[in-house]
Structure formats: C-alpha cells, structure tokens
C-alpha cells in the first residue's frame, strides 16, 4: 500500500529546491535579445547603405533635411501605435484622426476666428476623445479593436469628407503655433525634435514607469494582469487616447508644414504605422516591443518612400516594397522566437 506516498522516509526539510534544467539558456536568450535590438539597427544601416548606393543624392544634405522634416508625421503616430500594440490592441482609425482633428483646428482658427492655441488644444482633445471612444467600445463591449477601429476609421473619414465637402482647408503657416511645431531652429526642423522627444518620453514610460509595466503585462497576459489587480481596461483606454492625441498632433504638424489640410490626408497611414511597429520587432500579439525598434522601423519605411522618389522608380513600388519588408521582418522575428522555444 502506498500509504504516505513515495516519501516514506522523509528527507530533512528542504530549504532549497533545484529546479534548474537549463543552465546556459538564460545567457543565450539574453544574447538573442541583445541581438534582436541590435539587429534592427544593423538592418536599418544596411538599408540606408543600399539606398546610398542606389542614389548618390540619398545622403545629400538636402535629402536628409527632407527626410527629417517629413518623417515625424509617420513617426509620432508609430510611437503611439507601439504603445497600444504592446498593450494588446491596435488602431486602424489613426489616419482618419490624422485628417479630422487638424481640420477641426483649422476651421476653429480660420473660419471661427478662435485663438490658435485653443484651436490646437481642440485638435488634441478631439484626437484623445476619438481614442477614448475606440477604447471604451473595445474594452467595455468587448469586441476586437480591429472591428472597432475599422468602423471608426470609416466613420471619421466620412465626417472629414462631410465637413470639408472635399475642398482643402488652409491654415496660416506663419502663426507662432505652427512655428512651434513645424518651424526651424537655425535651419533644423522643429518637428524632428518633437518626434525624438515623444519617443524618449514613451521609452521612459515603458522602461522606467509603472504605467509601462502595466502596459507590457496587460498585453502579455491579460488574465494574469487582472489577477494581480491591474486595471487593464484603463491601461488600454489610456493607450488608445495617447495614440489618438499623437495622431491628431501628427496631422496638425502636416497641416502646419503644408499650410493646408486635405480630407484624404493620412490615408494608409495606419498600415504604415503598424508596419513601422512590427518591422521594429513589436509583436502584434502584444506584451513585447521597444521604442528603438519602432524608431528604426519608421526610418526604414520612410527611406523606402524617399529612395523610390529619388531613383525615379514608379511610386507604385512603394507599397510593394513595404509589404515585402514587413513580411521579411516579421518572419525573422518568428524564426528567432521559434529557436527560443
């Protein structure tokens, strides 16, 4: 009879239990992770080198100026997208927010004669409110954010078409508020400083703040986060709102740069932003991703667009290249993951 189980002669109380089965594993993983973050930097450098060979204008001062002046519009959206994807959701409506929110700003300022700063605030609040609606529908009703934001993408695009009746809306480029976000400091585009600034703030949040930790664990394992008392719905809604606000600001920056807004602005931006995020190594399944990766992903996507223009290739190639690179990048990550498990 197995009375008392297999442990008839009980060993002395065990203070320390050895469960190790893989001593070298941790170090190897660490190396892969290091490699992962460094690899995206290397991939970026390789791309830039190839582009420099394709066109000698690529690394010219004028071209680099154009890149750092226009890239922040995608980059600022991609930063917010990264946070939201890490939290386990994503947002297809950013392109519509990018068009609608600045349109409201321009109408308030140009047509209604409102104060420029109040108009910009209204733009940001509109973006955050759109994010809040996305977040509330997704978390409280419990439908996938893909469906929620597919709906709001079309709805808000319709709204901006309706407001604009298809006509562009002008905005005075020389207003101080426009200079503050899209002007120059001794020839250097201000929007790039904002872009890097936001990336640093989000990096600090993710790496060094409780909110970042909650964002990672909410996306990584929602049930566990709930069990540990983390308000996962609130975490997701805040990330939706941050992305909405950043998309609105990015749209405003484009309007400041061009001096007018278009109802079709930001079409396809959602896929570029998601593309920049996943190229940078953020997993669509949530719980994992870095700001450095997204920064590199943005540079890659933006440089492809730029090199196609420079090399006078048909612009249609842009999407084809992006598509191929997204697949290659994500495949690489899956392969790295596969090796891990």
């Amino acid at each position: 009879m197995a009375r008392g189980g297999a442990r008839g002669g009980r060993p002395p109380a065990i203070r320390s239990v050895d469960l190790s089965d893989s001593s070298g594993r941790g170090r190897r993983l660490k190396n892969i992770l290091k490699y992962k973050d460094i690899s995206i930097v290397i991939i970026t450098i390789v791309f830039l080198s190839i582009f420099a060979m394709v066109s000698d204008k690529f690394l010219s001062r004028e071209n680099i100026f154009i890149i750092i002046k226009t890239m922040p519009e995608l980059g600022i959206v991609a930063i917010g997208m990264t946070m939201l994807i890490i939290a386990g959701e994503f947002d297809l409506s950013v392109g519509s927010t990018f068009a609608l929110a600045p349109f409201i700003m321009a109408i308030l300022n140009e047509r209604a004669g409102q104060n420029q700063i109040l108009s910009l605030l209204a733009c940001l609040v509109t973006g955050a409110a759109i994010g809040c609606i996305n977040g509330l529908i997704t978390t409280k009703i419990g439908i996938p954010s893909f469906i929620t934001t597919l709906g709001t993408m079309m709805a808000w695009r319709g709204a901006v078409l309706l407001i604009s009746a298809g006509f562009p809306q002008s905005f005075q480029r020389d207003l101080p508020v426009a200079k503050a976000f899209a002007g120059n400091i001794s020839g250097f585009p201000v929007q790039f400083i904002w872009f890097v600034g936001f990336a640093v703030v989000m990096w600090v949040l993710l790496e060094h703040h409780r909110f970042g930790n909650w964002t990672y664990v909410t996306g990584g394992n929602k049930a566990a986060a709930v069990a540990m008392g983390i308000p996962v719905d609130r975490v997701k809604i805040i990330n939706f709102m941050v992305l909405g606000g950043l998309s609105a600001l990015a749209g405003a920056i484009q309007m400041f740069r061009m001096g007018s807004g278009y109802s079709i602005a930001g079409q396809g931006l959602e896929l570029q932003a998601i593309g920049a995020t996943v190229i940078g190594g953020t997993l669509l399944s949530g719980g994992s991703g870095t700001m450095v990766g997204t920064l590199m992903g943005t540079i890659i996507i933006f440089s492809i667009e730029n090199i196609i223009v420079l090399s006078r290739a048909p612009a249609f190639w842009f999407r084809t290249f992006i598509g191929i690179i997204v697949i290659v990048a994500v495949s690489a990550h899956v392969l790295i993951q596969g090796r891990r498990s």
């Binding site: 009879m1 203070r15 239990v17 930790n213 990672y216 719980g287």
Partner: protein, 253 residues
Amino acid sequence: MNEPDKGAPLYRLVGISKSFGPVEALKNIDMEVRAGEIIGLVGDNGAGKSTLIKILSGIYPPDSGQILYNGEVKRIGSYRDSQALGIATIYQDRALVDSVSIYRNIFMGSELVHPAGFLDKKTMRKDATKVMRESISIGIESSDQLVGDLSGGQKQAVAIARAIYFRARLLLLDEPTNALSVKESRQVMAFVESLKEEGISSIFVTHNLLHVHSIADRFTILSHGEKVGDFEKRDISMEKLERLIVTGKNEEV
C-alpha cells in the same frame, strides 16, 4: 496581528454557499486551515473545488456564509481583500506574463516605485534575486530573464516566490502539477512542504491523489458541491480517499 497558537485555525470558512443560476456549486461548506498546514482539497470534476478557491481568492463573492481570519469575520470582495488576508493564488499558467522579466512579474501590480510612479528597478531586481535565492534555488541566473524562457516548474516557483515576498500565509495551489514533469512536480511539492516550517499553509487542489497524499496533512473532500468530510492523513488510506471521491458518500459516518 495576534499570533495564533498552533492549534487554532488561522482561516475558517463557515456555511459557504454559492449558486450559478440554478446550479448549486457549493452547499453550506465548512473548512478550517491552521498555520503551517497543507490541506488536500479533493473531489471529482464539478465537485466545487475551483469555486471554493475562487471565493477565497476574491474572484466570486459567496452567496452566504462567513470567512474568518484569526477568529474575525472578514469580507473577501476582491483580489486585494484576499491579498490583504495573506491569501495568494498560484495558478497553473495564468498568473505570469511570459514576455516580461522575472522581477517585473514578481512585482506586477505591486511595483516598488519612486515618487510619480517611476520604477525602483534597482530594489526590485535586488529583492527578486534575494527571494529567489533564499527560498528557492531554481537555476535562475538573473531576475532579468524572461519568464517565457523558464520551465513549468521554474514558473511555479516564481509565482510562489512572489507570494512569499508579499508575505502570503496561505497558498492556494490549483492543479499545480498538471503540466509538470514527474521530476518537476516532486520539486514543487517539496518546496511547498518546506514552507510549512515558516508557518505558511497551503490548500492543494489536484486530481493526482498520489501527489496530494504524499504531502497533505489533512483532506477535505467535496462532491457535487457538498462536503463529504475532513480527514487527517493518518485516518485515511489512498484507497479510501479514492472511494470517497468516486462515491461521494462517507458510509462510515
């Protein structure tokens, strides 16, 4: 907090009932847990074991009945309430996040922070390493390692280490050995057993009677939401335990 004497129950459940619509999941259950005691909570599928665990961990409120801690009536309405009473639930795989590091897992939801919510990573890393070293040496080199890279047994150990760090007095282990290898199961059980010395109690829910019989001091048997009985280990054999679970009747009482 008064230190209870060894014999007095630390936790007492009195007349706990819970229904889900027409289904009576638990009917008038009484249960006691003393300090440093391991209780095997056993019963067939649908006996109500998981419901009872979820009531203790604050996921469901009971419809009626009382929970006493050190003789005082307490309400467990949320995970926080449960944690405040020193109860920690160790789920098989649900309690950890694979994509983040060990120390971020240990402090998940209870992060140590500087003012304005900035993480005190230095102390978290140090404390995580310390609790892993002192209570369980599980072949983990660094608290920066991702939990997703650990084995099943190591993950359990991390979850238990988290509970110990936050001064748990009662571990609720719901099918802890389900997905583990034989060797790992044994190690986890030995670890739980070693915690008795520190006065940490455990409720061990499992289908594996062999596992539970080897380490439990006492058994509480449930069947179809009702309690079949409480038995000290010395009073019950594996065969009888198995018979009681299958029949759901305690003929000898």
